[in-house]
Point group: C2
Chain length 134, copies 2
């Protein structure tokens, strides 16, 4: 009942007008459509457990495909395909080390990103916060 009441409140509350809510809201400029599109593609590329596992492996340092395949217990071709998806979104890059080619997270952003999503996943979910009006 509480849930239903909340839902109805959202839809019909006549006292809720945007003008009431104007506060400090300038931390992040509204991104362009292109930025939103690229960012959502980045998230989709990460939205698959097997690709996220590769990210977690690479967060500990660059690795070659052979190492990744061994860690995952998968064929080289399977790992290469996953890496291709991640490279297409500039999530991982290739680094040539003499005759070897290693894969690495593209930048520190990606280390932060994988750490953040895993930290968030480890948190318990929260109930509806009941707070006094400010």
């Amino acid at each position: 009942m509480q849930v239903f009441y909340s839902w109805v409140m959202e839809l019909v509350d006549p006292t809720c007008s945007p003008a009431e809510h104007k506060t400090e809201r300038t931390r992040l400029a509204m991104p362009t459509a292109l930025a939103i599109d690229l960012a959502s593609r980045l998230c989709r590329a990460l939205g698959e457990p097997s690709r996220l596992r590769l990210m977690a492996l690479l967060a500990n340092g660059e690795r070659c495909v052979t190492e990744l395949a061994e860690a995952e217990g998968e064929e080289l071709s399977t790992i290469s395909q996953r890496l291709r998806v991640l490279r297409a979104e500039n999530i991982v890059v290739r680094r040539r080390r003499g005759k070897h080619i290693n894969y690495a997270l593209a930048d520190e952003h990606m280390i932060d990103l994988i750490a953040t999503v895993l930290a968030h996943a480890a948190e318990p979910s929260r109930p509806v916060a009941e707070e006094q009006p400010t």
Copy 2:
């Protein structure tokens, strides 16, 4: 040709054995299957431009559905549906303010996350890095 050569190298390079690559790799413990699953669901929920735009709006402070619908030029029911997806993954939470219900990013992780994916989206993609062997 270079691309093809690189690809073949990945697949067949007989000199590449995992033992050669062991270096400092202890920054992130390998996450559990559950953590990977939850994190990938989080990424999938963000992998859609309209939901990511809501995140960008909420990064500047909590808002009610009416405000979000006005900002997006969408129906309340459409915004409510998107918020439901984000709430299911604990990305946004509801906060009751007297008679109002506001939506907010669940925690600072989510502010970091939206900032990180947008910053990454704003970067130019990189070519294959050519580096000397170490």
